[in-house]
Amino acid sequence: MTSPQFLHRQYSALFAMSILLSGCAVTLMAPYDTKTEDMLTAIQSEFSAERQTLIYAYGTPDCLYSHQTAFYKKAHADIADLRVHASALAKNELTIREIGLLDQSLSDLEAIHKHREAIKTGNDQCMSADTMKDDFDGIEGTIGDILKLEVAKKRVTPGKDQ
């Protein structure tokens, strides 16, 4: 009678041998890309700068969406550039998906900003540090996670010095 352990052992052996026949290292994900990391870091800097701009501009006309459209325009364009660059690399679908989510979050932030200017009055038209904290933290987290995946592509063995 054939035991499950025996079958498992045979399948493992077959699996190993099939890989052996390929005769080369297996690659399932795009390699680490310095430019992607640089572009992401630059986009993160834009968000950090905009957050500080809005904090300092609170209660002034500069806090309004209509005064900040240049930020949204540039951020959308930079994310589009990043998406095009990432799309040029093979086996990079996960990173491309993440960039799409980042752009969606930027659109959400823009919609919130626009909405406040349209329906609120006075200082409430601004996004205060407290009300926009979750949005910027969420977007920062999104960028941070895209970066973590990019850095993981360096294929450094866990537990060893990086």
């Binding site: 052992r9 493992s12 052996a13 699996f15 190993a16 041998m17 890989i19 052996l20 005769g23 080369c24 290292a25 297996v26 690659t27 399932l28 994900m29 996960l94 990173t95 998906r97 993440e98 989510l101 980042l102 969606q104 979050s105 959400d108 932030l109 919609a111 919130i112 909405h115 406040r116 329906i119 205060s128 407290d130 009300t131 904290k133 979750d134 949005d135 933290d137 969420g138 977007i139 987290g141 999104t142 996670d145 895209i146 973590k148 995946l149 993981a152 592509k153 294929r155 063995t157 866990p158 537990g159």
Partner: protein, 111 residues
């Protein structure tokens, strides 16, 4: 293949693979837990802002969408780390038996 024992090779490949997967699995789990905590705090804060009237339902939905996108990105990164772990495990398995196989065959089948 007279000098190569399939069972022994499979055992060495499996040992190397499991070592890689265990190391990455532990990293991915702690990473996911930390991110989940951050997102839970953000969602609770959105609830407070809505309750206090600082934001309306339209904004709350958009804010939640940003958090959901952050969660999706985190899970995608964990998925990607898992794929890289699988890749590393396969290659570690091959590397573990490289010397044995190439020596036995007197030919560099595994580069």
């Amino acid at each position: 293949m007279a000098d190569l024992d399939v069972g022994d090779l499979a055992s060495q490949v499996a040992g190397a693979m499991i070592g890689q997967l265990a190391a990455y699995g532990s990293d991915a789990e702690s990473y996911a837990k930390a991110e989940a905590q951050k997102i839970a705090i953000s969602i609770a804060h959105i609830g407070e802002l809505l309750a206090s009237g600082a934001i309306d339902e339209y904004e709350a939905k958009l804010k939640f969408d940003i958090q959901r996108n952050a969660t999706r990105t985190m899970l995608t990164t964990v998925e990607g780390i898992g794929i890289i772990a699988a890749e590393q495990a396969i290659n570690a398995g091959l590397n573990a038996i490289k010397g044995l196989v190439n020596g036995a065959l007197k030919f560099a089948l595994l580069p």
